[in-house]
């Protein structure tokens, strides 16, 4: 091929999509969800199957899915699409950034829409539904939710002769176990600098990021209790060395818990999906316990939830509303929830989850869980439901600029963990920055 021919071909190839983009006459409902590139697996196939099912029942409608990676970038990207006037008609809302959307009028009030015959607001957990409501307005229908819990590897616990507690551990008991579990090539704990994962250490030590009304950070994030908790977190990495430091984790580029290189991990229910293909831990060895509290009593945790919403910008909310009802309905949720991504927002499906034998991914196929795995699954699911009453909604459900606050807190933690900045100095600077952000405009 001559050079000219090659270039000509290239140009032709480049122009072709412009001419050939076919126009589909169906109305489009764009959905948005977090997530990014993921290899083909059972979960993505289930979602796709359900989407096709919806299209089959609603012949005039076509669904398009936007995936946005990074749970924290998600909110920013969606607001950005709002100002670009191209917000997807039905985005999934993360309870932890709901206020940003609600305060600025980006979402439609679903309680104003007429529900179909199969839809009832009473089908959902009241506190989960509450995370997506402000006053009388309901901005999303719950899909699913998860408390943040402490995962542990039963195999490692057996080897070390450690019994998991009946309730929650105290900080000292937790540290002793983590030290016991840390050995050559293995850490007691894996913990990234991700505030949803570490805010419970503050809460369970009497501290917090913001004051109870969510108006300021000073006196709280840099208050005595929070400083003690922050120091405790920092010491886990820097003094006791029971968790890989951030740069160690970066250097190896792996998920320690999944590789069997860490015995515990703070995370949500979604973790179980990724662990199905993990090389270093078996499904029947994954245990769940409440996050530790300073004294071991009254452990509180944070609850993250996803809800299906409708953009205020949507020209015709009718199709999107149909989708919201379909997606949060029993039929779709039973199938969707079987993926194990979270606790279902519907009471009926959530309560029956422990009794349903899960299907696990295996390479590109699937298989039914073995008896041992099923038993472990039932114990875990019951534990999750048990932890639900100790859940607090995330700050972002009520504080509009909380997404920015999270970034500030994470930066402060970064300074402490990577750059040896003293906890007090980092927290004080962050608290002042938080005050500036939350100042009424």
């Amino acid at each position: 091929m001559t050079r000219r021919a090659a270039l000509g071909w290239l140009a032709a190839a480049g122009l072709s999509p412009g001419c050939s983009l076919q126009r589909d006459s169906r109305r489009v409902v764009r959905l948005a969800n977090w997530g990014g590139a993921s290899e083909d697996n059972e979960f993505t196939r289930t979602v796709a199957r359900l989407h096709r099912e919806f299209e089959r029942r609603n012949p005039g409608v076509r669904l398009e899915v936007e995936k946005i990676p990074g749970s924290q970038e998600y909110a920013t990207k969606l607001v950005f699409s709002h100002i670009s006037r191209s917000m997807p008609e039905s985005p999934v809302m993360d309870a932890s950034s709901l206020a940003t959307f609600a305060d600025n009028g980006l979402l439609a009030d679903l309680s104003q829409l007429t529900p179909g015959p199969d839809f009832a607001w009473d089908d959902f957990w009241p506190n989960v539904k509450g995370m997506f409501a402000q006053g009388r307005a309901q901005y999303a229908a719950p899909i699913d939710f998860t408390p943040i819990v402490l995962y542990y590897n039963r195999a490692h616990f057996r080897e070390a002769g450690i019994e998991p507690p009946r309730g929650a551990w105290s900080y000292d008991q937790f540290l002793a176990a983590a030290q016991e579990l840390t050995q050559e090539g293995r850490f007691g704990l894996e913990m990234p600098n991700w505030i949803p994962g570490w805010i419970t250490w503050l809460w369970n030590d009497g501290g917090d990021v913001l004051d109870p009304r969510g108006r300021k950070g000073s006196g709280w994030f840099d208050g005595e209790a929070s400083l003690r908790a922050l120091q405790w977190i920092a010491d886990l990495f820097l003094v006791h060395k029971v968790a890989p430091t951030l740069s160690e984790a970066e250097a190896t580029g792996v998920d320690y818990f999944a590789k069997g290189k860490a015995s515990m991990q703070v995370s949500g229910h979604w973790e179980l999906v990724g662990l199905q293909n993990a090389s270093g831990i078996k499904m029947e060895d994954i245990g769940v316990m409440p996050v530790p509290s300073r004294s071991g009593e009254g452990s509180v945790t944070v609850m993250y939830g996803a809800g299906q919403s409708i953009a205020a910008q949507a020209k015709d909310p009718g199709d999107a509303w149909k989708f919201v009802q379909f997606w949060t309905g029993r039929e779709a949720q039973e199938e969707y929830n079987a993926s194990g991504i979270a606790v279902c927002g519907r009471l009926d499906v959530a309560r029956s989850a422990a009794g349903r034998r899960p299907r696990y991914m295996e390479g590109k196929g699937t298989r039914d869980a073995t008896d041992a795995e099923f038993a472990a699954h039932a114990v875990r699911e019951r534990k999750f439901v048990e932890i639900v009453p100790s859940c607090r909604p995330p700050w972002g459900a009520t504080v509009g600029d909380y997404v920015v606050v999270e970034t500030i807190c994470q930066k402060a933690m970064d300074k402490v963990l990577r750059n040896n900045v003293p906890v007090a100095a980092a927290a004080r600077a962050a608290a002042q920055e938080i005050d500036r952000v939350l100042e009424p405009k």
Partner: protein, 277 residues
């Protein structure tokens, strides 16, 4: 022409007008505030920190990039067999995707297992987390800029070097000047206008750095790599303070203009001072 008006000239004017308002783009409210944005900006320490970072980046990367480009140009300007191959090779990184390059350089700078740390550990040096150590992040990014942007600068220098009449060098050689002396006293003055060109374009480029920051450091550690291009981006599209960001771009434009003008002034003097001898 119309296109230029709409997409180059008009935006500048529009920026300035925008900066006079307090436009809450998410909520959709807008009110005229005059010069308030600029007043706020004057006291906005994070913004001036980013300005300082950009200048620091330019001060690191521009001299490094120019020295590297000149050095390589001196090598590849020689009429050697196969030299075209090397020119192509050295040019290649500058046509590659900035995102891909950033991804590869994240690896190069990784602690422990990264390319640089693997090499230095052979000499028993301790591992450095280049991108998360506030002392190293900026120089590391600047070095990357110097290497990746080698191509065009090298080509410009080669063209200039080939235009230096060989007779001049030969005459100098006859006078007994060493290689270094010939470079310093003959070649460099001859290519001074080219150096000025490279200096100005590299500086302008350096002051607008964005992609590597977005992908590699996000402005961290401790805001030491929060350069002005990235700062404006986050102000506008993550905090959605569009008017404030417009004010920032006006200031950035003024600074870039000022730096360019200064470079022209100073170097013209330097060139004039050089040539008569």
């Amino acid at each position: 022409m119309l296109h230029w008006l709409v997409f180059a000239a008009f935006p500048i004017g529009f920026s300035m007008v925008l900066a006079l308002y307090d436009w809450q783009i998410v909520a959709g409210t807008n009110r005229f505030v005059g010069l308030e944005q600029f007043q706020a900006l004057a006291l906005d320490r994070p913004f001036w920190n980013s300005m300082g970072n950009s200048i620091r980046y330019a001060l690191w990367s521009v001299p490094m990039g120019m020295a590297l480009a000149l050095g390589v140009a001196l090598l590849v300007a020689k009429p050697l067999r196969g030299i075209a191959f090397f020119r192509t090779l050295f040019y290649a990184p500058s046509v590659m995707s900035g995102v891909a390059i950033s991804m590869v350089w994240i690896y190069i700078y990784l602690p422990e297992k990264g390319l640089v740390n693997s090499l230095t550990s052979l000499f028993g040096l301790p591992s450095v987390s280049f991108l998360s150590d506030p002392r190293w992040a900026m120089p590391a990014l600047a070095f990357m800029g110097a290497v990746v942007g080698l191509g065009p600068r090298m080509v410009v220098y080669v063209a200039a070097l080939l235009a230096v009449p060989p007779s001049l060098e030969e005459a100098a050689a006859l006078d007994g000047a060493s290689g270094w002396q010939r470079l310093r006293n003959v070649t460099l003055p001859m290519i001074a206008p080219t150096s000025l060109f490279v200096l100005v374009t590299s500086t302008i480029g350096a002051l607008q750095l964005f992609t590597p920051i977005y992908l590699m450091t996000k402005g961290g550690p401790l805001d030491t790599t929060d350069v002005v291009g990235y700062h404006i981006y986050t102000t506008a599209w993550q905090k959605f303070e569009v008017s404030q960001a417009s004010a920032q771009s006006c200031v950035a434009l003024a600074v870039i203009g000022l730096v360019t003008w200064l470079q022209f002034r100073l170097s013209r003097k330097a060139i004039e001072g050089y040539s008569p001898s």
